[in-house]
């Protein structure tokens, strides 16, 4: 038995429940025969992937859902071996080049050129071209993106590329200008409500509106999370009545606890406690950016209006440093100490901004 997220995922463009005009657009593009390179972008859980698979189905018919998973080994110029997983059908191929880290350029150059230079052999295929889906395109390195530029123009007759990204900021302009940009916004509250009612109807139970409201408020526009939470709740209390509480993930509670600790006491001893907790979070593979954001949000919701902007300012600054640096814990800790000092200064009514600037 599969999860509801997969079981009730819309398969065709007609089944999609929201962004109807976008679906209509995709449908007409797929049937026009003049299909461009595309770039889908939007927050996670908005339905980018669902729309891409539905578009593929519209393009090629039933063959696209016969998937197989391959592992391929590429050789970098320095003779290192890089392994990548590839999901493919007869008509399309799906890669996540960021798996290969710094060597993603090799994959782009070799794999895409290889596909681009072979023509479709299946004479019954509906389209003459193959589709390459590149996941997490925003984490492609600059080199890899540069390698895509000319390939996209040169092999237009054999190949279409669909990029899937959270944001277009990290894609270089030449790539953006070669694609048709498709923005997939997160669904609105009422749209999410509709989808949840639909899922519960398909699963065979009634969903009380107040429960779904609660779930929606918790999920912040992420449809996938919404349905996962719904399923988890249904498992916990099958009748979904009375007082349902949505269990927050452990790491979120843990982050909130860290936030509370910072506000409660600002001493070197407390910094050590916080440090232990941060290590704990990091060793459980919670991304440092997520940790920082969650703690920051917890803190700003509980402090005085006057210091909120400062806390966010330093959070933003240390976040970028964290990305450039290699040791995440240094920057997390530095930020914690910064916040403590801001808080304390504010608490005792001292204005030590001049001193703090050298910090």
């Amino acid at each position: 038995m599969s999860l509801w997220v997969d079981a009730y995922r819309p398969r065709t463009l007609n089944d999609l429940q929201y962004h109807k005009d976008l679906s209509a657009r995709l449908k007409s593009l797929a049937s026009s025969g003049d299909f461009p390179h595309m770039l889908f972008y939007g927050p996670s859980g908005a339905g980018k992937k669902t729309r891409i698979t539905a578009t593929l189905l519209e393009l090629f018919g039933n063959g696209v859902d016969k998937l197989k998973i391959d592992q391929r080994v590429f050789l970098t110029p320095s003779k290192r071996k890089v392994e990548v997983n590839i999901v493919q059908s007869n008509y399309h191929i799906e890669i996540t080049p960021s798996e290969a880290g710094n060597y993603d350029r090799v994959i782009i150059q070799e794999l895409i050129k290889e596909i681009a230079q072979t023509q479709q052999v299946d004479l019954n295929a509906k389209q003459r071209f193959k589709v390459v889906i590149i996941n997490e395109a925003d984490s492609l390195s600059r080199d890899a993106q540069a390698a895509l530029r000319r390939t996209m123009e040169k092999y237009m007759s054999n190949l279409r590329i669909i990029l899937c990204a959270n944001s277009t900021s990290r894609l270089i302009a030449p790539i953006r200008s070669r694609c048709l940009l498709i923005r997939v916004p997160a669904p609105s509250k009422s749209e999410m409500q509709d989808v949840m009612q639909y899922v519960s109807r398909r699963a065979g139970f009634d969903l009380p509106p107040d429960v779904s409201d609660k779930i929606i408020a918790d999920c912040d526009g992420n449809m996938r999370k919404c349905i996962l939470v719904l399923e988890a709740l249904k498992m916990q209390s099958p009748d979904l009545t009375g007082d349902v509480t949505i269990a927050k993930p452990d790491w979120e509670l843990y982050c909130n606890k860290v936030g509370d600790m910072i506000i409660a006491e600002q001493t070197p001893a407390r910094v050590m406690d916080v440090r232990a907790k941060l290590y704990e979070l990091l060793s459980h593979c919670i991304p440092p950016t997520v940790i920082l954001k969650t703690i920051a949000e917890r803190i700003v919701s509980r402090v005085d209006e006057a210091i909120k902007p400062q806390i966010m300012h330093w959070a933003a600054l240390y976040e970028v440093r964290m990305r450039n640096g290699t040791k995440k814990i240094f920057h997390l800790e530095a930020w914690v100490i910064k916040v403590m000092s801001i808080y304390k200064h504010h608490f005792y009514g001292m204005d030590l901004t001049e001193l703090m600037e050298d910090f």
Binding site: S28, Q109, D143, S167, P309, M312, A316, R323
Partner: protein, 367 residues
């Protein structure tokens, strides 16, 4: 059968590679065929015209922002010099999608450079081409070549100058090492002026039988910022969208904005209002009670909508810098914030955090 079977690639290479013109991107389809076709860049065109008659050509370095016609110019020039039949064996084009480490420069480039140019084949189309006695090596996107690879080129360029000319094409001339740059005559390509861009777009629209209004052309030029390739791609995307619906709908300026990923003015003004910048249409609404919470809520809302942070900041920057009532000090403070945020976003920082940061700082500066 898998994609990767060797057999299929062989059969494909035997079959002549024919591209259906209907499927070609317009950017390729309407690449200028002769250097007279090139829009704007009068100076460069005038100089290159002379080389057509004199059969003498220096090494060249073309630089300028994307979409100004650098690659088109060099391709058109070599086509005119050699004609279609000699083009294949006289011109080597390498770009960033090919491997271009130092080993390639030493082997492929050097081998091609040292070959004596083959005798001129009789052109099938009956035209007479100048076909001067040298070959051209085009290094496209040369700024993405490594320093070492560029260094290896130095001597090659001099040694084989009598039979080979190099043409380096790049966006940032500063990334080309000085010894290479000094061996070339430099040509700067400027962003297209709106007038010649309009002409070119109109020409393509007529050739493709797409109905465009002046407003659409205006929107195209505005959202592409002097990059003709971008404008043409947007036009093609828009025409695809409009012609694929039944019945075909005319292209509107809003379509172009959506394709270009521009944030609609209404959304932008809503954001500007929350952070305390005066914008038309919002004067009557009172400022929010708790500015921080309002800003945080708005930023969350925007990131849920999926707008890209860079685009949002660019447009906010334009709004603030051209704002009629803010004073110089406020504007320059905002400018600092935008610069910082741009750098951070380039480094891959979290978009939501930095949008919030910019919003808070701008708020602090203008209120």
């Amino acid at each position: 059968m898998s994609f990767f079977d060797k057999r299929t690639s062989k059969t494909a290479s035997n079959a002549k590679h024919v591209v259906d013109p209907a499927l070609q991107p317009w950017v390729e389809k309407y690449r200028p065929q002769t250097i007279d076709d090139i829009s704007a860049q009068e100076h460069t065109v005038a100089v290159l015209q002379k080389t057509l008659t004199s059969t003498n050509l220096p090494h060249m370095l073309f630089y300028g922002p994307p979409g100004t016609g650098k690659t088109s110019t060099v391709l058109a020039l070599s086509k005119q010099l050699f004609g279609p039949d000699n083009f294949r064996n006289r011109v080597l084009e390498l770009n960033a999608s090919d491997e271009r480490g130092i080993s390639i420069v030493r082997e492929k480039v050097k081998n091609f450079a040292r070959q004596t140019p083959r005798a001129q084949a009789v052109s099938e189309d009956g035209k007479v081409y100048p076909c001067p006695p040298y070959k051209i090596i085009i290094l496209d996107e040369a700024d993405s070549m490594t320093q070492d690879a560029q260094g290896a080129l130095r001597r090659i360029m001099e040694n084989y100058a009598h039979i080979t000319r190099f043409c380096l094409v790049c966006n940032y001339v500063t990334r080309i090492i000085e010894p290479l740059a000094s061996r070339c005559s430099k040509f700067r390509f400027t962003p297209l002026d709106p007038h010649s861009a309009t002409d070119r777009l109109n020409h393509i629209a007529t050739a493709e039988r797409v109905a465009v209004t002046p407003e659409v052309i205006d929107a195209l030029i505005k959202s592409s910022g002097g990059d003709l390739r971008r404008a043409i791609t947007y036009l093609q995307s828009a025409s695809r969208l409009s012609s694929s619906t039944q019945p075909p709908t005319p292209i509107t300026a809003r379509d172009i904005q959506e394709i270009a990923g521009t944030v609609p003015d209404q959304v932008l003004h809503g954001f500007a209002h929350v952070i305390g910048v005066d914008v038309p249409g919002f004067q009557n609404e009172p400022p929010p009670k708790s500015p921080f919470d309002a800003i945080q809520k708005k930023v969350k809302e925007l990131s849920r909508e999926g707008y890209s942070a860079t685009q949002l900041l660019n447009q906010l920057h334009d709004l603030v810098v051209l704002h009629p009532t803010l004073n110089g000090k406020q504007k320059s403070q905002c400018g600092l914030v935008f610069a910082e945020a741009d750098k951070a976003l380039c480094d891959g920082a979290d978009e939501e955090l930095w949008t919030l940061e910019v919003a808070l700082q701008v708020h602090k500066a203008v209120v």
